[in-house]
Amino acid sequence: MAQGKGWSRDDMAKRAAQELKDGFYVNLGIGIPTLVANHIPDGVDVTLQSENGMLGMGPFPYPDEVDPDLINAGKQTITELRRSSYFNSAESFAMIRGGHIDISILGAMEISEGGDIANWMIPGKMVKGMGGAMDLVAGVKRCVAVMDHTNRAGASKFLPQCTLPLTGRNCIDMVITDLGVFSRGEGEARFRVTELAPDIEMDEVKAKTEADLDWSVL
């Protein structure tokens, strides 16, 4: 569904979905990450966690199934599956903090070359709070950030250092933007370009990236 150059929001979600492996327990953030659920590859069976206290998040309810006592972390009404279980918030975050969730896919405002992420506040604007974002990036085994590569003014969001207050330090393993995929293995300090979106040239990526990446060939 790519429109013109690079990836659309839905393309990014689809690419992020390829990071899901069979049997994974997965936490999806708000925004583009929510779309990931629509693109889970065939034969890959994952269990979605909702940090307000549920494993096995099901689809939105039919009108006659709506239950005000069953919502997700985005406060939307949802349904349960045969595999579902409920638990309290302390147990939910024990699960997150303890490294039991295989992967978190989350939105970002800025990512630094050292894997820092900023996605919860903009100084001077009303701050709504970090919710569970700081716990997720600190605790989940593998964190994949999805964001536009540049802001509306065209400035890079992949930076040497985040300019916004951090959500977490050195915690992002992969960044998916409209221009491509940037990843680093466990223990690796720097990100590499591991994939380019359609019709995107490396030169464009370099021009739009302030972060110092490992620019070796794909």
Binding site: S50, P59, P61, Y62, D69, I96, G129, M130, M134, A138
Partner: protein, 233 residues
């Protein structure tokens, strides 16, 4: 047995409210909030309340009721996005706000109830949350210390409760309620359904009655914040 059952939310808070009190209120968004007890707390007229609650309700509902009447002096929360009156008071400097990461908040409440005055977590390391907090390294990684939280009164919403205060919660309405039940000096619970002792299978009680001092049965509106549905094919 000393009687734990009260008739109304107002009676259940009798003698427990005072100016400057610390209150915990369960719920995530508007799901699983103690609606009737919040109303009774408003009616008590207690001022300068510190409210520990993951969210701050919405305008005119949930903790929004207590914001309208300016009874809340300080909120300890993880996310307060859905409340215009909150925003107005905060920007006007009329309201204190302490943000806690959601998992840190829930663990702090559990710790408070469990006699644990402090614990270390990786959550928030390198962020504003870490400022001024003691740190310690474990296996060469830095962690920050967070403290346990308690309340003068914990307001809890459960699904079913028996007359001894044993509780069961429904689906995601469980959220912060079980921990808060353990962290109140006095814990007051409202349930959809009050049942006789012995109605529950003892294997499946979420909160044992030891944590519950007062309980009422009360009807909740259970307002839905984001109705999302799909159509049948």
């Amino acid at each position: 047995m000393s009687n734990k059952v009260f008739k109304t939310a107002v009676e259940a808070l009798e003698g427990l409210t005072f100016d400057g009190m610390v209150v915990m209120a369960g719920g995530f968004g508007l799901c699983g909030i103690p609606e009737n007890l919040i109303g009774a707390l408003r009616d008590s007229g207690a001022q300068n309340i510190t409210a520990i609650s993951n969210n701050a309700g919405v305008d005119g509902f949930g903790l929004g009721l207590l914001l309208e009447t300016r009874q809340i002096k300080k909120m300890v929360s993880s996310y307060v996005g859905e409340n215009k009156e909150f925003e107005r008071q905060f920007l006007a400097g009329e309201l204190d706000l302490e943000f806690n990461p959601q998992g840190t908040l829930s663990e702090r409440i559990r710790a408070g109830g469990a006699g644990i005055p402090g614990f270390y977590t990786k959550t928030g390391v390198g962020t504003v949350i870490a400022e001024g907090k003691p740190t310690m390294d474990f296996d060469d990684e830095e962690y920050i210390m967070e403290t346990g939280l308690k309340a003068d009164v914990a307001l809890v919403k459960a699904w079913r409760g028996d007359t001894q205060g044993n509780l069961q919660f429904k689906k995601t309405a469980r959220n912060f309620n079980p921990m808060m039940a353990t962290a109140g000096k006095v814990t007051v619970v409202e349930v959809d359904e009050l049942v006789e002792v012995g109605s529950f299978d003892a294997n499946y009680i979420h909160t044992p009655g030891i944590y519950v001092q007062r309980i009422i049965e009360a009807k909740c509106e259970k307002r839905i914040e984001q109705l999302t549905i799909r159509e049948r094919a």
